[in-house]
Symmetry: C2
Subunit: 430 residues, 2 copies
Amino acid sequence: MKRTLISELFQMEEKQVLLKGWIHKIKEFGNFAFVVLRDKTGLVQLVVDDVNIINQLKLEMSVEISGQLKKNEKAPGGVEVHVEKMRILGNIYYDLLPFSINQIKVQTTLENELDYRYISLRRPDRRVVFKVQQEVTEAFRRYLIEKGFSEIHTPKIIASGTEGGSEMFTVKYFENRAFLAQSPQFYKQMMVGSGFEAVFEIGHAYRAEPHNTWRHLNEYVSLDVEMGFIEDENDLMDLEEGFINFLYDHLKETCREELKLLNIELGTINKIPRITLQDVQKILEDVFGKSSPSGNIDAEGEVLLSKYIKEKYDSDFVFITKYPVSKRPMYTMPDSKEEGMTRSFDLIYKGLEITSGGLRIHDYEMLKGNIIKFGLKPEDFSFYLDSLKYGMPPHGGFAIGLERITMKLLDLDNTRQSTLLPRDMNRIEP
Amino acid sequence: MKRTLISELFQMEEKQVLLKGWIHKIKEFGNFAFVVLRDKTGLVQLVVDDVNIINQLKLEMSVEISGQLKKNEKAPGGVEVHVEKMRILGNIYYDLLPFSINQIKVQTTLENELDYRYISLRRPDRRVVFKVQQEVTEAFRRYLIEKGFSEIHTPKIIASGTEGGSEMFTVKYFENRAFLAQSPQFYKQMMVGSGFEAVFEIGHAYRAEPHNTWRHLNEYVSLDVEMGFIEDENDLMDLEEGFINFLYDHLKETCREELKLLNIELGTINKIPRITLQDVQKILEDVFGKSSPSGNIDAEGEVLLSKYIKEKYDSDFVFITKYPVSKRPMYTMPDSKEEGMTRSFDLIYKGLEITSGGLRIHDYEMLKGNIIKFGLKPEDFSFYLDSLKYGMPPHGGFAIGLERITMKLLDLDNTRQSTLLPRDMNRIEP
């Protein structure tokens, strides 16, 4: 007999069914029991009156059951299955679950949930976070492919860093020392120049930053974009704004149930304001009496700015533009109209930076000069620099942190909640 | 004026157009020149009669040109563009190209092509390999999502290896030593048990194998699948056979032009034979007088077997089943009917192994016993082993090497040809 998924039961006629899943809940009443069975699609109530079966039941064992699907107004969803046979598929070897997962709330710490990811993810409200995350990548891919972008896979083992080697993990690569890539920056630019013109990559990025906060991960998934033959950084912000619109529509369509379960109303995307860093700093000073570090705003500033933007423009997003040269990487295009400024931007979403982007320097001599100005050595970037010798077109791009955008979409408190198996300073297992 | 892509020109009326791309070829004839312009979509002939423009032209510079689109039967594709204005977008800084890319054949070594990837990929016949590769991942994703699989991203920085730590790259992770994952094996199994039931991942895998051959890469993209609540390994082979069918159909539909350019006829997929290793070894011995290593076949055996299967079954694919326990990892399900054998398989495609897969041990006590039998320590696999304590259902999976399947689909000679930027023992740049 073919397996029926639990979600299919609610539209079916009364009949014999075969289900597979985990024992989510057991309520015994003398010689019968109500049992909740869980599979990847949902929960259903089972009625068990065979004492032999009842005696075998343990929470979280995986089973196959066959029985009669019956309508019952009093049962959740209006149906229940009267169990005739049960076969244990996956046995249990524990005395007590590390924490209960069939209650309305989880009574444990985030650390404990992460230590036992294979338990906590069994809760639908934990698992659906990753359905939404999957649809974020799906939307990103669909949106860009429709615009003629190519998806690429670039190496994560690299010989030299985009920023000169600081805050990178080192790898012993046969007899050499190598690094884990902080971003596909050089490679995505190179692929634009290699004739792909417009590329994206969904892949891991590594930061050896010694920060252990709610918003830092040492390994994360980066949604990277790079686009050639553009006029200026507004083309990039237009592209990202278009994506955010597409994403919201896509999630409303594909994650209706998941968003409902998590109690999330996505709202609508209005025109995303684009404000220069200088003006942002002034707003923070004038409205909140908050001073900012030179050439940037801090984490508190991001939160206050988002509060202000939400009230004034009814937008959860805001682009900050024109960062100073000193605060951006050496490959960032300087602003020819404003001395000391660059044609770059960040995107802030609900008080958190989720994107950094900008126009890049595409001229060989100009980049070489800039590398020297930054006190770096051109020979340390030779393959990257050389790739600009052969008619590199004007280009730029940006990157979105997948865990960060997922966290903010779902109003979670910590990026670890939107990471299946996070890596941080203290966590390398499971 | 809006940019027109070159591929769009061939269906258009005669009119003013704006093109962007690279100078692919220049043929001067006194006071006019035929120039071939290249963009990501194709090539078109330009006619330039302005000597000022002709004098500026250099191969591979990137330009914007505007001019009149004209029909001309003698021009390739029946159209040409008479250039009125040209703007240089990306200048060149070289005397000679490292090798010519506008001839019918590339007159250089693979090593040189890889050193100058940003040059060699400008050839359409090099770049379309990665369009096909993108559609392989696209087909994999579409096929599995339709079957209810979830896409996951699991860590590549790990604390211990699936095989006990041999042939892994080590990473300095803050004060600890970590490894780069050889495969998402433990994590994809864990996610099946965490309630996703069926998962896939498209991500990097790392092998510190000291082999520098046409079929080895030290960093590659693995198409990984794991599926719970299955009956036996035939469910997995059915799934993979279904994918191969889907893939061929998908490529014929989405890569018609690319396959034509590369002169590839995909053919049709017949039922893929499933033959036990023992029978395969016997065939090699009887038909080719070829003896095999104990419990496996070697690279030459894979080639001979494929020749035999092609002739006898008209199939480019063959599953080899029932590998001995001693040749498979400790988590492989033993065959209860045949002492010393496992419920595992490989898939050979045109003489090359592209997949390893099998049923896994899902019972905690059984896996613990097997780890000990293998001379390994259960405590070295504690988080993995522990994840089997909570009702892990029967499950199994397989993995396909993306570069390998692309290579064989396109009859390439070396996996490096189907890798944008390969990593091997001697290559870590660009």
